[in-house]
Structure formats: structure tokens, C-alpha cells
């Protein structure tokens, strides 16, 4: 059952996918459903002995292409809708113990090509208004499978956070002679330099002036490219290089493989115009504030939407930059 219910108090859709309660939860490594299927072994999601990068439809999707009209009709105040969309799983490697940080720059580059391909294909689907590429890593984030993988949601609407960001970007452009909000933010970060983590020829990683997590990092394209599919070959290679440096730095921060949420923000695929509005970038939200303490989204963050931070971005950037530069 995939169903959307409208929350008129926040003006946003909530997706219900009750079949997800039964999804596989932290199986032992020998029963990983994302590993290749070995001769005589149990059949996994991938019916081959080896693979490079694989994409498949999620067995427990939050959105489905043929979701029926919901039985629950809702009301004018609280309407419902079918949870139509698409959910994919992206397997980064057939090596169960790998992580994005331990992979070669070349493999990360290959993965970027796959992400771009998926963006193009899913974005062309009628029911998909926003292609959201993301990775949840680590049990602290709530992952149910450890095998290196990410996910892609093809939403039938523009989700609230990107929508809010796009609205701010549109207002900024209108009020500043057509200038892109993200280009201006990146210029400010370059000028200040205290929060810069790593710079390549085409991409920059930094902790934003207004970070919501202690080690939140944003990776911005220097050029105002609306989506990952708009990046040139040299830009994609540089993105792989900057990501590799950032991820290795993350893992040396506390001496363990750092959990994080990684999300991509880019142009919606709803047929609208987003030139100088959407600016492709990746955001990382690691939950750790120290090696053994997590930043929880508690009362103020969840109930009021107001983040309270106990470390300044300049300070955490200095620490993380030191780890990156010492590699």
C-alpha cells in the first residue's frame, strides 16, 4: 500500500508504505541480500556471481509506479493521493565491506555516471517531479543493510526541503539582478575561506556558515549546473576527487567509518524552468558531534524546526580540514 496524505498545517505530503514494516533488518553478512548470488548459495537480489554497479527497483518501495487510488478517501481539508513514483537501490560494489570512502576515485567516478544516468531516466517519467539521490550510512542513521548502497526516490512532488530551498533561490535571483543564490554563497565561502574543506578545479567542499550538524559538509559545483546530468566529464571527475578527499577525512575524524546522510539537491523534473535557480550540490549530515555522542533532532529541532548547535562551523571545519589535508 502506497498512499499520500496531505498535512494542511505544514502544507506537505506524508507518504505511507505499510509493507515496509516487513523489510529485511540487519541480516548477518552471509545472508546479505545485496551481495552477488554465489553458486549453491541463497539467491540474493543480484542473480550474478560478480557485478560492477547495479541498480534495481526497491522490493519495499515508499512509492510505486502503479500505486492504486487509496481506499481512504480523505477530505477537502486532508486529501489523499496514490503514492505513485519510483524507488531504486544503487549497489556501489559487490564487495560487502567496502564503503564509498574506501572505494577508488575511479569507482566513485563510475558511480557518478550511474547517478547521472538514473537522473535522466527517472526524471523523464511522467509521474516523477523530483529525483532524489541519497545514501544513509551507518546504524546511527538507521540503515537496515550494511552492504555499500544508496537509494533514489522519484517523488511525485517536489519534497519540502528542496522546495523551500528553490523558493529562496528564486527570491534571491529576483532581488539580485538574476544572480544565483548558491553561486553567491559559494563566493562568500571562498572569500572567507575559514570553512573550506577541500577545493578541486570544479567543485568545492565546505561547512556552511549556517550548518545544522557539527560536521555537515556541502559540495558545490563551481559552475551553475542545474543537475548532475548537466555536468561535463571533467566536472564529474573532479567531483569524484573532492568526494574521495572529504570521505577519507570523515573516516579519520574519530577513527571509525563515520555514519552520515548524503543527499543531492538539483533541478526538479516537473517541466518547470530552474536556470539560475537550481544549482547542483551534495549535502552530508553526519550525526556525530564527538566520537561517542550524537546530535539528536530533539524537541527544538523536530517540534519547532529550530536547530540548536553547540559548535561553530569555523571550529569543526578547522578540525575536519586538518584531517583531510593530513591524508
Amino acid at each position: 500500500m502506497n498512499q499520500l496524505r496531505w498535512d494542511p498545517t505544514l502544507r506537505e505530503w506524508v507518504a505511507y508504505a505499510t509493507h515496509r514494516q516487513d523489510r529485511t533488518f540487519l541480516p548477518p553478512a552471509e545472508y546479505c541480500p545485496l551481495c552477488p548470488t554465489k553458486p549453491g548459495g541463497f539467491p540474493t537480489e543480484v542473480p550474478r556471481e560478480h557485478y560492477d554497479i547495479v541498480v534495481f527497483e526497491n522490493r519495499f518501495p515508499s512509492f510505486a509506479p502503479n500505486a492504486p487510488e487509496p481506499d481512504e478517501g480523505g477530505s477537502d481539508l486532508t486529501p489523499t493521493a496514490p503514492g505513485r513514483g519510483i524507488c531504486e537501490v544503487v549497489l556501489y560494489s559487490d564487495d560487502h565491506d567496502a564503503t564509498l570512502a574506501t572505494m577508488s576515485e575511479r569507482r566513485i567516478g563510475n558511480l557518478i555516471e550511474v547517478w547521472a544516468d538514473r537522473f535522466r531516466e527517472l526524471g523523464a517519467r511522467e509521474e516523477v517531479d523530483y529525483v532524489f539521490i541519497f545514501e544513509n550510512k551507518g546504524e546511527a542513521i538507521g540503515v537496515t543493510l550494511h552492504h555499500p548502497h544508496g537509494q533514489i526516490y522519484g517523488y511525485p512532488f517536489i519534497p519540502p526541503r528542496p522546495a523551500k530551498e528553490l523558493e529562496a533561490a528564486r527570491d534571491h535571483t529576483a532581488q539580485n539582478e538574476g544572480r544565483c543564490l548558491h553561486c553567491d554563497l559559494l563566493s562568500q565561502e571562498h572569500e572567507d575561506a575559514r570553512r573550506i574543506l577541500a577545493k578541486g578545479e570544479h567543485f568545492t567542499a565546505f561547512i556552511p556558515f549556517y550548518a545544522h550538524f557539527p560536521y555537515e559538509a556541502h559540495v558545490y559545483s563551481r559552475r551553475c549546473a542545474p543537475s548532475i546530468a548537466d555536468l561535463e566529464g571533467a566536472e564529474r571527475r573532479d567531483l569524484a576527487s573532492v568526494l574521495k578527499r572529504l570521505l577519507v577525512g570523515y573516516d579519520s575524524l574519530f577513527g571509525f567509518s563515520l555514519p552520515y546522510m548524503m543527499v543531492m539537491h538539483q533541478a526538479p523534473t516537473d517541466g518547470g524552468t530552474y536556470d539560475s535557480i537550481a544549482h547542483f550540490h551534495i549535502e552530508f549530515y553526519p550525526p556525530n558531534r564527538t566520537a561517542d555522542k550524537l546530535k539528536y533532532l530533539a524537541g527544538s529541532e523536530t517540534g519547532a524546526g529550530a536547530y540548536i548547535m553547540d559548535v561553530l562551523p569555523e571550529s569543526s571545519a578547522e578540525t575536519l580540514r586538518g584531517k583531510i589535508e593530513s591524508q
Binding site: 543480484v46 554497479i53 534495481f56 527497483e57 577508488s104 563510475n110 561535463e232 566529464g233 571533467a234
Partner: protein, 45 residues
């Protein structure tokens, strides 16, 4: 596409822009879901 059947779909990034050439092979699982195998022109480590 019948369950278990295989369809080769070739796709390549424009090499002139420095992109990495890739090939994709799509299959359908028994339950109807698709799976896509990506391979690349360059060799993995």
C-alpha cells in the same frame, strides 16, 4: 519483457567531454521488478 529475459541496452557518455563510457544491461526479475547492470569502459582497480 518475459520474466528472466534479458535485453541489452547500450548507452554511452560522450567521450569528447571526458565522460566515462558505460554500458547497461537490463533484466526483469521474477516479481516484475527491473535490475540494471552497469559496466564501464575503464578497468576497475
Amino acid at each position: 519483457m518475459a520474466a528472466g529475459s534479458r535485453v541489452m541496452v547500450s548507452y554511452s557518455v560522450d567521450r569528447e567531454d571526458g565522460g566515462i563510457g558505460l554500458e547497461r544491461e537490463s533484466e526483469q526479475k521474477e516479481d516484475g521488478r527491473y535490475i540494471i547492470f552497469y559496466t564501464f569502459e575503464d578497468e576497475e582497480d
